[in-house]
């Protein structure tokens, strides 16, 4: 039922894109590029939530993890003059934030929602306090065009002419899809998220699996954060993650806890935003800018309301594991 819906919508959108490409090549390409750029951090952040929830942990703190690693990535790069070191700073901070969250939510068996909220509030406090004005990046991130593929019509300029983070995001999604469903790690992770008692009985260390997965997911949040400040924005402002960590959770749900599904959901989000911005810029419709800004949030709520009853989260999600 749900799959048919998803396919119908996908086909309609693809046909729409084709049609629009025949009408106006330049605009279509620019809208699609915008959509992809918009979707990339959401995709990676959705993978953070996905790895955590597949292991049985709700991660509400993605927002804070993004913020901290975007901060560390930007100021690390600005201070050392190296984008690579900045990126490593971002990922390292993500891992630390992941470990901190795992300590609360897994090791200490705290309420997972409260642990995540603490991560968010601490991240807001620390990044506002240590924020410094007037820092600039040493360079903008390089755009890597992939030979031959970049010359394809439509998909060439959109997909194969991007920064490295964009390719990284696509690789992460495919990698996780394979890891989750075709490897022992994936099987263990899903077992821990669906039925931790059974997993425990069969010799899987539930607590350790959860702790490691949540920490590694933090590293992914580091990638998304570094992308935001180093590639997407090229700067850092207080609170500039703007709720992406929460939207990512919604995207994870639309994708039914599947990496590829979440990828599609994030692209849909990006596309909506891209089309709305283009309509606004072309003055086709006179919508106040505030309503354009609202769009991703309204869309999140509407889609959650439609989808939430139809998909099933991992059974043990949200519950700290207690040995009987």
């Amino acid at each position: 039922m749900r799959a048919r819906w998803a396919w119908t919508i996908t086909v309609i959108i693809l046909v729409g894109i084709m049609f629009s490409y025949t009408q106006d090549e330049l605009r279509t390409t620019s809208v699609l590029s915008f959509s992809l750029r918009y979707a990339i951090p959401l995709i990676i952040a959705a993978m953070v939530g996905l790895v955590c929830e597949r292991s049985g942990v709700i991660n509400i703190g993605i927002e804070g993890q993004l913020l901290m690693s975007a901060f560390a990535g930007f100021f690390g790069a600005a201070a050392t003059g190296s984008l690579i070191i900045g990126t490593l700073f971002g990922i390292g901070t993500g891992l630390i934030m992941g470990a901190v969250f795992a300590t609360g939510a897994v090791a200490w068996k705290m309420d997972q929602i409260i642990s995540g909220t603490i991560i968010n509030i601490i991240a807001t406090g620390l990044t506002s306090f240590f924020y410094a004005q007037g820092q600039v990046l040493p360079a903008s991130t390089p755009v890597v065009a992939i030979p031959y593929l970049k010359d394809l019509p439509l998909v060439g300029p959109v997909l194969f002419n991007n920064g490295l983070f964009t390719y990284a995001a696509i690789i992460i999604v495919i990698f996780l899809q394979i890891m989750l469903f075709l490897t022992i790690w994936g099987l263990r992770t899903r077992a821990v998220g669906e039925n931790p008692s059974a997993a425990d009985t069969s010799g899987i260390n539930v607590q350790r699996t959860r702790f490691i997965n949540v920490t590694l997911a933090g590293g992914l949040a580091g990638v998304a954060g570094a992308y935001l400040s180093l590639e997407a924005a090229g700067t850092f402002e207080r609170g500039f993650t703007a709720g992406r960590g929460f939207t990512a959770l919604a995207i994870m749900i639309f994708g039914a806890w599947n990496p590829v599904g979440a990828f599609a959901a994030a692209l849909f989000f990006g596309l909506t935003q891209g089309v709305a911005s283009q309509l606004q810029a072309d003055e086709v419709v006179d919508i106040p800018p505030q309503f354009i800004n609202m769009l991703p949030y309204v869309l999140t709520i509407v889609l959650l309301a439609v989808v939430a009853g139809r998909v099933r989260p991992p059974a043990a999600v949200g519950k700290p594991y207690e040995k009987d």
Binding site: I58, I60, G104, W108, M110, D111, Q112, I113, I114, S115, T117, I118, I121, I122, T124, G125, L126, S128, F129, Y131, A242, G243, F246, T247, L249, A250, P288, Q290, F291, N293, M294, Y297, V298, T300, I301, L304, A305, A308, G309, P313, A315, V317, G318, K319, P320, E322, K323
Partner: protein, 369 residues
């Protein structure tokens, strides 16, 4: 498996360890928040020290500017008032097992609602005051109800919807204040001033909004513990399955609690508009919602304990500006102190390491797991 999504877990206001004896709960209720606040100040002091300022000087400046004279008292009470309301809003949610992190959105929607009701109408004060206040509460309740209904009937996590509604509210009030409700012939995006008949008076140094906040806290202290509806709230929060078995409509209780929570946050916004600002200006009420979470957890979801917790946060927020003026320390240090307070209160750091005796007794009686 219940169909209600994540199971209700311990939110900190029930004693999770009955083995620790009856006194443990009392000690915990008072000692943990106090020790947590002191620890947070200590860590904040280290941050201040590394900024090249004597932490004791900084803290003296902070507290003196907030509590040094009657002007300071007034500002502390004005700052604390919406915080008591947002704290209560979060408390009511926690009691039902809901995590309302959208008090911010509910508050600003109500603030602009009260401002509109305040400037658009010309009524005698007897009617106008309750009307503007009530309209603000209604706006807050309606805003929160979106999340409540979705949680009850579509099983959508209220955490995601309330945070999304925050962002929507910010954009919405920005639009309202810059287009339809905008004060004419003014460069700023803000509403006109409310009429005198809708303004809450300040008696000496005591703003009447603060008094309302105290009364409402006391009312909820009574409501949650002594009334049938309060009992329903607590039962649904502690065990929704047991509540359903006992014939309580869980869905109805969730929707009602979310509406009450939103009305409380909304009251905070309305009182701020009618008693302090006098109109709606975007960005005036930033951050109050998240402080509400800290306050609610610091108060361990007790409505009456919300009062001292909110006053403490109010003092810090009032003193923060003078801190920057006199010592050059960024006022955001207060955000760090509050975040640390929340960490120490909610995480078992304090209860585990400060009350080591209890913890040891626990591990002996239960064995290491």
């Amino acid at each position: 498996m219940s169909s209600d999504g994540p199971a209700q877990t311990d939110l900190g206001f029930t004693d999770p360890n009955p083995t620790l004896g009856p006194k443990y709960g009392v000690v915990k209720a008072f000692a943990i928040p106090i020790v947590s606040v002191l620890l947070a100040f200590a860590v904040g002091g280290i941050l201040i020290y590394f900024q090249g300022v004597n932490p004791f000087t900084a803290y003296r400046v902070l507290f003196e500017s907030a509590l040094g004279d009657s002007d300071g008292y007034l500002r502390v009470m004005q700052k604390s008032t919406p915080l008591i309301f947002t704290g209560l809003a979060v408390v009511v949610g926690l009691r039902v097992g809901l995590f309302n992190i959208g008090a911010q959105g509910q508050l600003i929607v109500a603030a602009i609602g009260a401002a509109w009701a305040g400037y658009h109408f010309d009524l005698p004060a007897v009617v106008h005051l309750p009307f503007a206040l009530g309209f603000g509460m209604l706006c807050g309740a309606a805003w929160a109800s979106i999340a409540g209904v979705l949680r009850a009937y579509r099983n959508v996590s209220e955490v995601i919807t309330t945070i999304m509604l925050n962002s929507i509210a910010i954009a919405l009030v920005d639009y309202l204040a810059s287009r339809p409700f905008k004060e004419p012939d003014q460069p700023l995006s803000r509403t006109p001033l409310i009429s005198d008949s809708a303004a809450l008076a300040t008696f000496g140094v005591i703003p009447s909004g603060f008094v309302i906040a105290l009364i409402v806290s006391l009312f909820f202290g009574w409501f949650l513990i002594r009334t049938t509806e309060g009992f329903r709230f607590n039962t649904v929060g502690l065990n929704p399955n047991a509540a359903r078995y006992a014939g309580i409509s869980v869905k109805r209780t969730i929707v009602l609690a979310m509406a009450v929570s939103g009305a409380l946050a909304g009251m905070g916004g309305a009182v701020e508009t009618m008693g302090v600002v006098g109109r709606f200006e975007p960005a005036f009420n930033a951050g109050l919602g998240f402080d509400g979470i800290t306050i609610a957890l610091l108060a361990r979801a007790n409505p009456i304990a919300t009062i001292p917790a909110a006053i403490l946060v109010g003092i810090l927020r009032t003193g923060a500006n003078s801190l920057q003026f006199e010592t050059g320390i960024e006022p955001e240090v207060v955000d760090v102190i509050l975040a640390l307070t929340l960490l120490f209160v909610a995480a078992p750091i304090v209860s585990r390491y400060i009350f080591r005796i209890n913890a040891k007794r626990k591990s002996k009686s239960k064995g290491r797991s």
